[in-house]
Amino acid sequence: MFEVHCPYCNEKRPEIEFAYAGEAHIVRETKADELTDQEWAEFLFYRDNKRGDHHERWWHQHGCNMFFNAVRNTLTDKFVMTYKMGVKRPTKTQIKAAKNGK
């Protein structure tokens, strides 16, 4: 059970307070009618399933009730950073900086 830093509580909290909520930054197209079936399928189902730094969502279900984003390395399971919903997808430079402790 790893620890997750909740960007709202600003604390590390045990994993079992959280629910994993899948890959992050998958934009839900509001004009979905204009998408082809293939494009819609890609939105619904296709995932990076990244080996390495993975952008993903977590829900602090048994805490502050907030959804937030994280970068986690799927090879080591270590979190690189977590950030609030609405914050832009971090750049490679930002991820690197976070790995080096800012």
């Binding site: 790893f2 045990p14 909520a21 009618d33 079936d37 619904l44 080591t76 609405g86």
Partner: protein, 989 residues
């Protein structure tokens, strides 16, 4: 020297010789002393034969003196529900009245019929089962496998529910130290000064580790025993230090999360009922210091498994700590200096050492001198080619490869020392890396993956001084120690010990318990199993209950030799948790029986119980299923409950329905996105049935939604669906629609819900309701009002899931039972009848109302369920809308929800029964649908069913068939609205 009855008892540091303990092994009574393990006590009585090996049933004695033991496994019998197989005699603390038995032997340990396997062992090499038992084919099921299965297992399987209970707890510390030998204790003394919380754990009953086994030399001028006692006292006094004995660190998980298994009652003669036997500590540590020590490596040679052959360090431990002589004449066979320390200790305790056989040609001078001083002969550059004896060793054949000379020397114990293997188990669990160290011929820690450090022997730093310094340093100290102790010394690794006997004819065991030998490894390699993981799986080395603690490194070296690669190239098998076998009970902790899972009960549950309800689990709720009267079965009770409700009045506990309060100026906008229905025009005080889809277009949940105010909706969900619907809504609100000003609050448990259905419903509640006009004009069907009932505030819904005039009375939960009872009392004049979920299901099915999850599953669209009417055509967006247009979801031939009437009106179809168009087709048949709901309808006098059928809507009036085993039923497709299709009964005045 308390116990004169035990012939091999001497004085030991680690036991209390003054207290005699009586115990039995295989029915025979023995005496040991307080502090003994079963192994030390049996050895004190001269008993070496303690077990039989797994495959060949070879007689075996102890190999080690600790948790690494592969041979001496026994069954412990503490009475009904407390029989435990496969206990290592070397860690089993004896207590008064202990009853133990040997295992895997029949009729008895000494004469074991199973040992015929040993005679034919040439036919059962590693992997033999892959090559045989294939002909004739039918013999596998009928003959071979049953025989193999009958030979399986070591100890007996449990046959009674466990009589013990277990515990589990979370804990936190700044520093966790695993292992309380010299390194661990030095680390604890140093770390404790930092003020942070320190936990020091050791698997043994007493702290000290190797300090208990070595001669009483001096640390900083104090005798070791005194130094140890002082250190423990110091640690005990510190409030920030927690010392835990009989506690094994079993696994190292993410972010310094360590599992510790504590054994609480296994050593206590009388168990207090209710006190936990074992406890799982789930520790989050800031830093972990691993001081797990090292395990001595056996030597692999012909006959190395006879009872009486053991690790040199084990003999030393039995001697120094337990005060037990492992024999009268002990020979040492070694490739490492450290083995001499053991025999010197034994010699100093007046045990005869007939000879030391050292494989090495060169032996350090000081060792030679010390041996000479004790009159011990050393045969250097020699080997042991054979051992003699049956259930106990009685001699060895010493072979000199340079001269070819052989000679027999008698003994009753043979000690072996092949160097040391640092215990890297937990380090490796943490995914920290290891590297090969040629000097000590073992793997040592490399790069940490967690905030962890190894200290002492498990770091490859051998000897007392190195351990103390290493422990101190690991905890951030810089102390030096003055130690007078023997040098630990060095050694050489011999992959293959010199012998004149062909290796294929030798019985040179690598994995003792699984009877895997050097030749098995060679065979594996010969057959192309070059990876060490292949070798492990092919030979089963390292897969016994000791998980290869004494065998893995030997196996790896033999394999690397056989494939002509370096050990690093061959690699090491992965260390798997737990460190030592751990009971399921420990993992389950407190969470067994009633505490396994939460069983949620409604406020009226107690009333239902008092009124004889039969329950059913729904999700983690328990709900009353029906209320049988004496002599009634479910069918009779349900028929009565249905009739009573339709005739006059039924009362039903609907409290488990999920409830979410949706509040904010954008509440209607949000509802529009989450549900298929339109919400903007729903007036205050009105209700609507809501249908929720997943983004993939399939039905996810449903429920009645009441609009209490412009900005406030009272949403209900299915019972099991409440948590996932809440998550689904929060997810969309926070991630996709954060611009909406609306908030969600779960109110499932705020409200107890009493559903009243039947023509008398209004009459019943009228006298109790205040501030709500109940007249049909002011309070029509699908309306909601706030007011009071029985003096308690209520949200009163006029809704019906039965087709009758119905009310759902929401009252604050802790008044639920009182309101229910008041209404029930008053309802007696209307023949009020409590009903459960089963009747609720029948009543709704008679009306053709669906149950999400029963009549729909995760593959059903609103169109399939005949609920297009609930899907807004005008809304530009709602969750699932785009998916409904996908090709397969608009394709023809989808299964659609219809009603069924069986040809024989008395036939109640089985739910889940499959439907075919052609009853005469042979198997496999083309299935066109299945029965989702099926009941006897007392109101209609015939059975009814709902079904999902391909092209169902177009087939109304057509016949279909339901083949049940041995019988085929015919049924007609009809509208699922069986009862009161015009809905007139809703408006009974």
């Amino acid at each position: 020297m308390a116990n004169n009855k035990a012939p091999y008892r001497t004085a030991g540091r680690g036991n209390d010789g003054s207290k005699t303990i009586n115990f039995t092994f295989d029915g025979k009574a023995y005496q040991g002393v307080q502090g003994d393990t079963l192994a030390s006590a049996l050895l004190a009585n001269g008993v070496h034969l303690m077990g039989r090996s797994f495959k060949y049933h070879r007689p075996r004695g102890v190999l080690g003196a600790g948790s690494e033991e592969p041979n001496a496994l026994v069954t412990l019998d503490r009475g009904k529900g407390r029989v435990t197989p496969n206990i290592r005699a070397t860690v089993l603390e004896i207590f008064e009245g202990l009853v133990t038995r040997s295992q895997n032997a029949w009729p008895n340990l000494k004469t074991d019929i199973g040992a015929f396997n040993n005679i034919f062992s040439a036919f059962f090499p590693a992997g033999f089962y892959n090559k045989t038992f294939m002909w004739p084919k039918s013999f596998w099921d009928k003959v071979y496998e049953p025989i193999i299965r009958n030979m399986a297992g070591l100890g007996p399987a449990p046959s009674e529910p466990d009589a013990d209970v277990y515990a589990s707890v979370y804990g936190h510390c700044e520093t966790l130290i695993v292992g309380a030998g010299p390194a661990g204790i030095a680390a604890a003394l140093t770390a404790a000064k930092s003020g942070g919380r320190i936990i020091l754990v050791d698997e043994n009953p007493v702290l000290g580790g190797s300090l208990l086994s070595v001669p009483n030399d001096k640390i900083d001028g104090l005798e070791i025993s005194k130094w140890l006692a002082n250190s423990i006292r110091t640690l005990q006094k510190m409030r920030n230090v927690k010392l835990m004995t009989r506690t094994t660190a079993i696994g190292y998980y993410h972010d310094n999360f360590i599992g510790l298994a504590e054994r609480i009652t296994d050593h206590i003669p009388n168990i207090t009922p209710g006190v936990s036997r074992e406890k799982l500590h789930r520790i989050r540590a800031g830093k972990v210091i691993l001081a797990q020590g090292a395990i001595e490596r056996p030597l692999v040679f012909n006959g190395n498994d006879r009872p009486g052959v053991m690790l040199a360090s084990a003999a030393q431990t039995f001697q120094s700590r337990y005060g037990v002589a492992v024999g009268n004449a002990a020979i040492l066979f070694t490739s490492h200096d450290s083995g001499y320390a053991a025999v010197f200790d034994l010699a100093d305790a007046n045990i005869r050492i007939p000879i030391v056989v050292d494989v090495r040609d060169e032996i350090p001078k000081d060792i030679r001198a010390q041996a000479k001083q004790r009159g011990i002969e050393i045969a250097s550059g020699a080997s042991i080619s054979k051992t003699h004896g049956s259930t106990r060793i009685n001699g060895v054949e010493i072979y000199s490869p340079s001269t070819g000379a052989k000679r027999k020397v008698n003994c009753d114990a043979l000690l072996m020392c092949g160097g040391w293997t640092p215990s890297l188990h937990l380090w490796s669990h943490s995914k920290s890396t290891i590297k090969w160290d040629d000097e000590i011929a073992a793997y040592v820690p490399d790069m940490p993956n967690e905030n962890a450090v190894c200290a002492g022997a498990c770091n490859g730093d051998f000897g007392l001084l190195a351990a103390l310094k290493g422990g101190n340093k690991a905890a951030g100290g810089r102390k030096t120690y003055k130690v007078t102790a023997r040098n630990f010394g060095a050694g050489t690794t011999f992959v293959s010990l010199p012998s004149y006997i062909d290796t294929s004819k030798q019985k040179a065991f690598v994995d003792f318990q699984n009877d895997a030998t050097q030749k098995d490894i060679n065979l594996a390699v010969r057959e192309g199993f070059a990876s060490i993981e292949h070798v492990k799986r092919y030979t089963t080395i390292g897969m016994a209950t000791d998980q290869g603690k004494t065998s893995n490194l030997n196996a790896m070296q033999i394999a690397s030799n056989a494939v002509n690669k370096t050990v690093e190239q061959v690699g090491l098998t992965t260390f798997r948790p737990p460190y030592t076998p751990t009971t399921y009970g420990t993992f389950a902790g407190y969470r067994t029986g009633d505490l396994f899972e939460v069983e949620r009960k409604t406020p009226m549950d107690g009333w239902a119980q008092e009124h004889g309800a039969v329950y059913e689990p729904v999700g983690i709720w328990r709900r009353a299923r029906y209320f049988p009267k004496p002599g009634e079965d479910m069918d009779a009770a349900v028929a009565r409950e249905c009739k009573a409700t339709r005739d006059s009045l039924g009362i039903f506990d609907a409290s488990t329905l999920g409830k979410i309060e949706v509040v904010g100026p954008d509440a209607a906008k949000f509802m529009n996105l989450m549900y298929t229905n339109p919400w903007a025009q729903l007036g205050e005080g009105r209700c609507r049935y809501g249908l929720m889809l997943r983004e993939d277009g399939y039905i996810y949940d449903d429920g009645v939604v009441g609009r209490l105010a412009e900005d406030r909706f009272h949403v209900t969900t299915t019972t099991g669906g409440a948590p996932r619907v809440f998550r689904h809504m929060e997810d969309y609100l926070q991630t996709e629609f954060p611009h909406l000003d609306v908030w969600l609050t779960s109110t499932t448990e705020q409200w107890a819900v009493i559903a009243l259905n039947g023509p008398s419903a209004r009459k019943l509640i009228e006298p109790f309701v205040e501030n709500i006009d109940l007249s049909p004009e002011k309070f029509p069907h699908m309306a909601v009002r706030e007011g009071t009932i029985c003096g308690v505030e209520t949200r009163l819904f006029r809704v019906s899931f039965s087709g009758e005039l119905g009310f759902e009375i929401n009252v604050p939960a802790h008044y639920g039972r009182a309101v229910w009872e008041t209404l029930f009392e008053a309802g007696k004049k209307y023949a009020i009848t409590p009903y459960g979920t089963e009747t609720m299901h029948v009543l709704r099915a008679e009306k053709g109302f669906i149950i999400v999850g029963q009549d729909t599953d995760g593959t059903v669209t609103p169109g399939d369920a005949g609920m297009e009417w609930a899907v807004s055509k005008k809304k530009k967006d709602f969750v699932g809308r785009r998916s409904l247009k996908r090709p397969d979801l608009v394709a023809s031939g989808r299964k659609q929800l219809v009603g069924l009437l069986t040809e024989n009106p008395k036939t109640v179809l089985e739910e889940g029964a499959q439907i075919v168009a052609d009853p005469n087709q042979s198997i496999p048949m083309d299935m066109i649908g299945h029965v989702t709901s099926s009941y006897w309808s007392e109101s209609l006098g015939h059975s009814i069913a709902m079904a999902l059928v391909m092209y169902g809507f177009d087939k109304e009036g057509e016949d279909i068939y339901i083949p049940i085993e041995g019988n085929t039923h015919k049924a007609k497709i009809v509208s699922p609205m069986f009862y009161d299709p015009k809905g007139e009964r809703l408006n009974v005045v």
